[in-house]
């Protein structure tokens, strides 16, 4: 198995800043918006974006939540092993709000399909959008595309794209893993 770094810390930081600017363009002071981090790896992206919005762009009080989609997956009983659910924490009403799903890697789109289903249990949002740090192009199983994307990556199905974070993994980077 070989791993190579395809995006370094500096490029990652530029992408995050660009995503924040685009969010501000569309959501203004975020008074009608809720950013939802997708469990498990989207939560880290959400944390970074909220910190950047506060520290660099002076946007305070952005409402956030985290969503676990385990119970809405379309591969329950179809894949080997156990699907372990994670915490969901949505303390704000999503009814008539603009919801932005935040995830690290967009691949087949099936998680986002499940997320759109899941969020409806908390009300009917006025609008749903998708922010992804990495968009694996040409790999979608469903007609789902991101509204905000950090970087696009071309990869084949047998490869893995992994986002590392300094807080958890010791450094910021995006790795592409090739199978043997």
């Amino acid at each position: 198995m070989s791993k190579r770094e395809i995006i370094d810390a500096r490029a990652l930081n530029i992408a995050l800043n660009r995503l924040c600017c685009k969010l501000i363009e569309n959501h203004g002071d975020f008074s009608n918006s809720i950013l939802i981090g997708m469990q498990p790896r989207g939560v880290q992206v959400l944390d970074r974006i909220v910190k950047l919005l506060e520290s660099t762009y002076g946007v305070q009080g952005v409402r956030t939540g985290v969503l676990d989609i385990t119970f809405y997956r379309d591969d329950f009983r179809r894949r080997p092993g156990h699907l372990q659910p994670n915490k969901t924490r949505i303390d704000h009403l999503v009814e008539d709000q603009n919801v932005v799903f935040v995830d690290d890697v967009l691949y087949t789109g099936r998680s986002i399909r499940a997320a759109m289903d899941a969020i409806l249990s908390f009300g009917r949002p006025a609008k749903m959008e998708l922010l992804t740090l990495i968009d694996r192009r040409f790999s979608r199983d469903l007609p789902i595309q991101p509204d905000y994307k950090g970087r696009q990556v071309d990869s084949i199905a047998s490869q893995r794209v992994e986002v590392l974070w300094e807080e958890v993994d010791g450094r910021d980077a995006v790795l592409l893993t090739d199978p043997e």
Partner: protein, 312 residues
């Protein structure tokens, strides 16, 4: 974490500590689900569950049915009172008839101990034991453990006294087995006639004095006196039972530390506990009921997960 080690939930006896941990942790996420504005997830939409109750039950059946519906399973209910069992059909025939209508899981309450185990050997469905005679009631023990963990923080090292009619209780045996596996200290307390002789062989304390029990414990699980199962006189009178084993506010107020009071229901107010105790801040009886749905959702989810769809 990995999958459950079992394909059926027949008793706590068959579970290991990792299974119990997995069920309780999964139930935590389902408790969040059932407190959402829309309390339903689509997970079991391709599963059909048959609830077979060969013995009367209100809250367990309701709790299972809600758990199944909140997981989007299709549900069929069957109760012995109006069934072909009365016409002489065997258990295996009854269940096989239901299974031929493509039922995946069976939740069964039966008066005979071991009925679930018998069924699991003879039919191709996941079996959940919802109480078999005075033997086991695993989902009640799991929801009690979940409620204790929620109220106290941990099971490991927590002192739990199970008080009352032990001999007729399936809740008692399942609770003892589960709490021991999770590292809790367990005591049973009741009149000598209502505590089976074998209890001390389970490695637990046996006590006959209520005051000693509540001074020792962190959690008191008060069991109902099961008049309907008592074929002979186990104590002289209700009044005497109440005087000796009824938990009152005076008991709780006199304790040095607060204890948690539980009851699997239905409560005989004024017999095993007074109304004031049942409605006091010590009592987590209604939390137990809510937790029951979450725990049963976790059990059904984890057992359904083991029934993989073949690609054929």
């Amino acid at each position: 974490m990995s999958e459950l080690s079992v394909n059926h939930l027949l008793g706590i006896k068959h579970l290991n500590a990792e299974d119990i941990q997995l069920i309780l942790d999964t139930a935590t996420e389902f408790k969040e689900v059932i407190n959402r504005p829309i309390k339903k997830v689509p997970t079991l939409r391709d599963i059909t569950v048959a609830n077979l109750f060969f013995e009367n039950s209100t809250r367990t059946r309701l709790s299972f049915e809600l758990a199944e519906k909140r997981l989007s399973a299709d549900v069929v209910n069957f109760s012995a009172a109006s069934s072909s069992v009365k016409k002489g059909e065997t258990l295996v025939d009854t269940v096989n008839n239901i299974l031929s209508m493509k039922v995946d899981m069976v939740v069964m309450r039966h008066p005979n101990p071991g009925a679930g185990e018998f069924l699991a050997q003879h039919v191709d469905a996941s079996i959940v034991n919802a109480g078999d005679g005075a033997h086991e009631h695993p989902t009640q023990a799991l929801l009690d453990a979940f409620s204790i963990r929620e109220a106290v923080g941990t099971l490991n090292g927590t002192k739990v006294a199970i008080i009352g009619d032990i001999v007729h209780s399936r809740v008692a045996l399942s609770n003892v087995l589960l709490l021991k596996k999770m590292g809790a200290e367990v005591m049973v307390c009741g009149p000598t006639t209502l505590v089976p002789k074998y209890m001390h062989t389970l490695g637990i304390r046996v006590e006959h004095n209520l005051q000693t029990a509540i001074e020792w414990c962190d959690v008191a699980n008060m069991l109902r006196v099961q008049h309907e199962r008592q074929d002979l006189k186990y104590f002289p009178s209700i009044a005497e039972y109440r005087a000796q084993y009824g938990l009152t506010m005076e008991h709780l107020d006199a304790l040095e530390k607060p204890i948690v009071v539980m009851h699997p229901g239905p409560v005989n107010r004024g017999v095993e506990i007074t109304s004031e105790v049942a409605d006091s801040e010590h009592s987590i009886i209604l939390d137990q009921v809510q937790n029951g749905v979450a725990v049963r959702m976790a059990v059904l989810y984890l057992l359904a997960e083991k029934r993989k769809l073949s690609k054929a």
